[in-house]
């Protein structure tokens, strides 16, 4: 028997057409699902009354998959088959893992595929499959709670997730049998949960310190439109780090080495987490460590000591707050609301430092663990068509600029960083050589001028361009970023209509430190980049001049030039050839000018000749 919920006036649905929707916070440490029932968004609990589902999956040898608390309870005794924090490797490539592997107690399967596979008793699995197991559990819970199939869900992702990571999250949703309405940035979801979207105007900062990620976002609401002004953060900083800090401290105090003992490390981490949580209310706690030989050691941890251990991390988050505000061109005093998100914001000293920095109390009435899921549920309800139509348009921004490679290893940016999405931008490019019939489009992400300093997202070839002289082809390259931040690139040659396109697939991801570094580098190397760009542009120009002149000489050089004239041009050509690969851009510029100067007469004669050719047999009047 279907149970009914109260609808908005006039919004009662026809039987069998209820559009059930849910919001899912797919977290590094914990995941939640929420839905709007009788006009109120609330998280949905499992049969035991627990809202929070630990993002932990355990694979057993006999085809069984455990998810959540039951999996977590096996973490200590079966560490290699119990996978936690897989969100950290979502959309990451094998080569990206080098920086993380030290922190992740699993074994990666040796393979050639670009998507890393974790070795378990049930065979190798990818982070997408593991996440899909978590999503599947939440889907079943939601469908049981709501009494029907879900028409769609909104899944939240950190504002910092790049294309590959977003695509991986969407894939996981699909694999779990979910219709993903859209992905929503976590800070935006939090602001929606607090109803800030219904306020007139204002600037909001969202400080999100979760288990595995930290980010801070500055949101502005103007004329009913939500916009993420800037986001910054560290996708590898969170409560897990605090646990590791405590565990390392305790192991050292207890004089134990967990280097070769994953079980002991797990145990220490579990104890560390418990200690951290109890220190939210207590002034001190005791950590009890048992190890193989049956000996147990007790270590006392005070809140002061704990705060000292985690201070380096908190200081980093405050530095990010400062930087992100600066990027949005906002003073701390201009921020009207501060929202705390993530379980780690329960730690009193985190709260204290954040409020001190912004100079005002933070919003924390809604459980910081649930606030993102609640906002996502409200968005999902609206997208399913159940709302009263008062929904706001939520705009998000691109974390890094997008562009294509042009001659000389340069990046031509089509969409700038922090552009609101969805967005589409196009730019025209042309061929470099006469008769060029193909063009390789290399899609890049980053803030630097040279290709090697940016991140390569994809390459594809536009072929069958009709042969034309260099510069005559019009190739329109279009970048389109959808509401989820996923990129598709297409290229079309205008006269023939030949086209090619690519969707950016999860091939590899960026580590947090890489994003940070890419941004910092773009400032630090700004001047150097400018010179590099100038040099590269001159080199390209030089090669273009040599190329064009070379083919012209070959064709008409003998007819139009005396031997002496030809020698002078040849000399200038040789001079330019000698310097065009060099590092001195001024020298190249001069050599180009010199060559252009010496070949002026030849160019003029060629022009006259071709005009004569065209006009032969015609009278001048015909051309008027």
């Amino acid at each position: 028997m279907a149970l009914l919920q109260i609808s908005e006036p006039g919004q009662s649905t026809v039987p069998h057409e209820h559009r059930l929707a849910a919001g899912i916070d797919l977290g590094t440490t914990n995941s939640l699902v929420a839905s709007v029932r009788s006009g109120v968004a609330e998280t949905l609990a499992d049969a035991d009354g627990a809202d929070i589902l630990p993002s932990v999956v355990r694979y057993t040898g006999h085809g069984e998959v455990m998810v959540g608390a039951t999996a977590l309870s096996h973490a200590t005794q079966d560490p290699l088959n119990t996978l936690a924090s897989v969100k950290r490797i979502m959309g990451r490539s094998v080569s990206d893992l080098a920086t993380l592997q030290g922190h992740l107690p699993y074994q990666f399967a040796d393979q050639d595929s670009r998507v890393p596979q974790i070795q378990t008793a049930a065979g190798p699995v990818t982070s997408i499959e593991v996440s899909a197991e978590i999503l599947k559990t939440l889907r079943v819970r939601a469908e049981d709670s709501l009494g029907g199939d879900l028409s769609g869900v909104v899944i939240t992702v950190p504002a910092y997730f790049d294309d590959a990571q977003r695509q991986a999250t969407k894939d996981a949703g699909r694999l779990a049998g979910l219709n993903v309405f859209r992905l929503l940035n976590e800070p935006t979801a939090a602001a929606v949960a607090y109803g800030l979207d219904r306020q007139a105007e204002g600037v909001t900062a969202v400080y999100d310190l979760g288990g595995g990620t930290f980010d801070v976002s500055v949101l502005a609401l103007t004329r009913g439109v939500f916009e993420v002004l800037s986001t910054g953060g560290d996708t590898a900083l969170g409560g897990d780090d605090f646990d590791r800090e405590i565990a390392a401290w305790v192991l050292e105090k207890a004089d134990l080495d967990a280097g070769r003992d994953p079980q002991l490390l797990r145990k220490a981490l579990a104890e560390a987490r418990r200690a951290k949580e109890s220190l939210t209310h207590a002034g001190e706690t005791v950590i009890c460590l048992e190890h193989g030989t049956g000996i147990s050691k007790e270590i006392r941890l005070t809140r002061d000591r704990f705060e000292q251990l985690i201070w380096p991390y908190i200081r980093k988050t405050i530095a990010w707050c400062r930087k992100t505000l600066r990027e949005a061109d906002v003073e701390p005093s201009q921020v009207q609301h501060i929202i705390l998100v993530g379980g780690s914001t329960r730690i009193p000293c985190v709260r204290r430092h954040v409020q001190e920095f912004f100079g005002r109390p933070a919003l924390s009435d809604i459980d910081p663990d649930k606030v993102v899921a609640i906002g996502a549920a409200q968005q999902a309800d609206m997208l399913a068509g159940n709302g009263s139509g008062e929904g706001v348009l939520l705009l998000d921004v691109l974390p890094l600029s997008l562009g294509v490679e042009t001659m000389g290893n340069l990046v031509s940016r089509l969409i700038e960083r922090n552009t609101a999405i969805p967005v589409a931008r196009a730019q025209e490019f042309t061929t470099f050589k006469d008769g060029q019939t193909a063009m390789r489009i290399h899609v890049l992400q980053g803030e630097r001028e040279k290709v090697e300093d940016c991140r390569s997202l994809a390459t594809f070839d536009l072929t069958n361009i009709p042969p034309m002289v260099a510069g005559a082809a019009h190739i329109k390259v279009t970048f389109q970023v959808d509401a989820d931040g996923l990129l598709s690139v297409s290229a079309q040659e205008k006269t023939s209509g030949v086209s090619a396109s690519v969707d950016v697939k999860p091939s590899y991801g960026l580590t947090d430190t890489e994003i940070e570094r890419m941004l910092k580098d773009s400032f630090e190397y700004a001047e150097q980049d400018m010179h590099a760009r100038q040099l590269a542009e001159r080199q390209v120009e030089a090669k273009r001049v040599l190329e064009a002149l070379g083919s012209a000489l070959e064709k008409d050089g003998d007819d139009l030039l005396s031997a002496q004239e030809r020698e002078i041009i040849g000399q200038a050509q040789a001079e330019l050839e000698a310097v065009c690969e060099g590092e001195d851009s001024e020298q190249i510029k001069q050599a180009v000018e010199n060559l252009e100067h010496t070949s002026e007469a030849f160019v003029a004669r060629r022009m006259n000749q071709s005009v004569r050719r065209v006009m032969r047999g015609h009278r001048v009047e015909e051309f008027e």
């Binding site: 028997m1 279907a2 149970l3 109260i6 039987p15 069998h16």
Partner: protein
């Protein structure tokens, strides 16, 4: 005319109204649709029309359209839990049969 609410139903309606922040009560009704002919509706009531029947039970204002009232005579509105699912349920003595899923009924 007698339509009533169980304690649990009254408590939940009040909570939802409070959290919604507006509305004068709850509107119950039937709709002629669904696989067995009729379906129950339950909505927030923001205003009362002239022809509406309005009464109060356990502190909750219940609004019913005159066309619906003949089908709902003697109905008790309950709020129950079934496994993980929870929601409102109409206990209607006029009901003859209902479709397998229970979303629609016949009188």
């Amino acid at each position: 005319m007698s339509i009533s609410l169980t304690d649990s139903a009254a408590r939940h309606v009040k909570t939802y109204l409070e959290r919604r922040g507006k509305g004068v009560g709850v509107r119950l009704g039937v709709k002629s649709t669904g696989c067995s002919g009729m379906a129950y509706t339950i909505e927030f009531a923001d205003q009362v029309e002239e022809e509406d029947h309005v009464f109060e039970d356990k502190g909750v204002r219940v609004v019913i359209n005159p066309k619906s009232i003949v089908y709902l005579e003697g109905t008790e509105l309950d709020f129950t839990r079934e496994g993980l699912s929870e929601g409102f349920q109409f206990r209607n003595p006029n009901e003859k049969d209902r479709c397998g899923c229970g979303e629609s009924f016949n009188v």
